[in-house]
Subunit: 304 residues, 2 copies
């Protein structure tokens, strides 16, 4: 794979996600991988293990990396992403392509894109991958394998640059690239990701028995694994997507209350009808998911 031949890449924020990108991008033979992270120890580790070729932990000198970087992968939290690029707007290489990983896009659309230099191309992306283990020490590009990637192009993005990002994402091992609008992204993510995290956290918040796993058959662990949550990131994501998240919480709560009433009323018939509908929907969703995985396998088998 020579997608990045003769090109320098810079990763901003070398945590779990940034580290995973660095590891995966190395296989695409870039001329060099640079990284900025505010933690000097992270940069030192990444230089020692050869994940990056050059690094910087002093933000004052990050311009030295940016001025030569054709592709920038921003792996910062949402507000930090906005602030970082506003601060370093004039240090970026002419015509550079920037992409990000932030879990909400409204804030990027409102607070960053209107201020972007005309020659730069900021292509919003959202790799639907992660781990309850945080930080560079846990970074591996295996977290990308078989995952969804949401691409959120705007009318300002150059089609050839969008295709370039798609090729990279595909090469990193993502299984399914979905294109959508910022509005739709934030609405869907409020449901599939943020609401699920709120539920998992509420389940743990309301239970005080620390030995509760004595009484579980797997469901409880599956529902609450994501409650081992990144406590710095998620409050920001929840609040940045407040309006859409509240909407999804209320939608879920209304189904919860309907089922509560059926249970309280011993309404066996209504429960059966609801669960039958639920089972059918979930089976259809599962088949759709598995078909995407199969399609990916077939496509990639044919490539080799």
């Amino acid at each position: 794979m020579n997608l990045l031949k003769n090109k320098k890449v810079c990763i901003i924020g070398l945590g779990l996600m940034g580290g995973a990108y660095a590891t995966g991008l190395r296989k695409l033979s870039p001329e060099a991988i640079f990284a900025y992270d505010h933690n000097p120890e992270t940069i030192e580790s990444a230089l020692i293990d050869g994940t990056i070729d050059r690094g910087e932990s002093n933000e004052s000198f990050v311009g030295e990396l940016l001025k030569d970087s054709y592709l920038i992968i921003s792996c910062l939290y949402p507000q930090l992403t906005v602030d970082f690029f506003k601060r370093h707007m004039n240090e970026l290489m002419p015509g550079a392509i920037i992409t990000d990983i932030t879990g909400v896009k409204g804030i990027i659309v409102r607070e960053l894109l209107p201020y972007l230099r005309e020659d730069l191309d900021f292509i919003m992306g959202h790799p639907m991958a992660g781990s309850e283990k945080e930080g560079y020490g846990n970074a591996t590009d295996s977290i990308f394998k078989g995952r969804n990637y949401i691409l959120i192009p705007t009318s300002k993005n150059k089609p050839e640059n969008v295709d370039f990002i798609k090729s990279i994402v595909d090469a990193l091992g993502f299984i399914n690239i979905v294109e959508t609008t910022p509005e739709n992204h934030d609405q869907k993510i409020a449901f599939t990701s943020q609401l699920c995290h709120v539920i998992a956290c509420a389940l743990i918040d309301c239970e005080d028995d620390l030995k509760i796993s004595d009484y579980e058959g797997g469901s409880f662990s599956d529902l609450t694994r994501i409650a081992m949550i990144n406590t710095a990131l998620w409050p920001e994501l929840f609040i940045a997507n407040q309006e859409k998240l509240i909407e999804q919480i209320d939608k879920f709560e209304s189904s919860m209350q309907a089922m509560r009433k059926m249970i309280l009323d011993s309404d066996d018939e209504a429960l059966k009808a609801t669960l039958t509908g639920v089972r059918q929907k979930r089976v259809v969703m599962e088949i759709d998911r598995q078909n995407k995985a199969k399609k990916y396998e077939v496509t990639h088998r044919n490539k080799n």
Copy 2:
């Protein structure tokens, strides 16, 4: 393993769970495995593949199996369990040991145990294992491996019979046998199992996009796998444990509403404090779970 040497076992209800028991118990060398199931095709399959030695699908003749069975494993739904043993009380072998798998125990305690013949020993159990794939065709004793087993002995159970059931459960591959009261069982299960199923179903019930998996990173699938639910069994379990389940739903809903308010108020500090507490609790629960798994491994390595 000769735990069942010279003993005949009878399984009542040869579905996913009954079939798993039959497969697992075979390895403990019983003299014979009998089974009753209302579906003649199930009995035929199990006879053909050698999972059982003798079977019956006509309930009128089940006495023929029961009169020789030292151990009865009841794998019926709660109300059916009560009804079946009331109907066949006088056909059971003197001194027989009966155990069950029902997910709620209050109904057994109230509606069956007071009517039990004095010489019989009914030892309540709850294997915390299952699958979203139902029926005998999907039965395998691998579903027991590494799982919890809840034992709910009463003062009427003979200690040597309780030990016998424990040995069997251990031999079947369960990792952790917890003893508790019917009251506590039903309360804990309302939380770890029933509430989790209600939540998973509500999440699917409130979403109409059948291609929603395009936008997910794994959390949504993990939280909703159990929504591929057995629609005949779960309404009965929910209603049979109504009071305790409603209590758990309300406890969860109160945490949901508290988090909703923090998000609505943009209360970053409160969210951080809540998520920090949640993360700490969930990590402690995880360590407890993993320690149990390790302890089991060590014990069983020493046995071999």
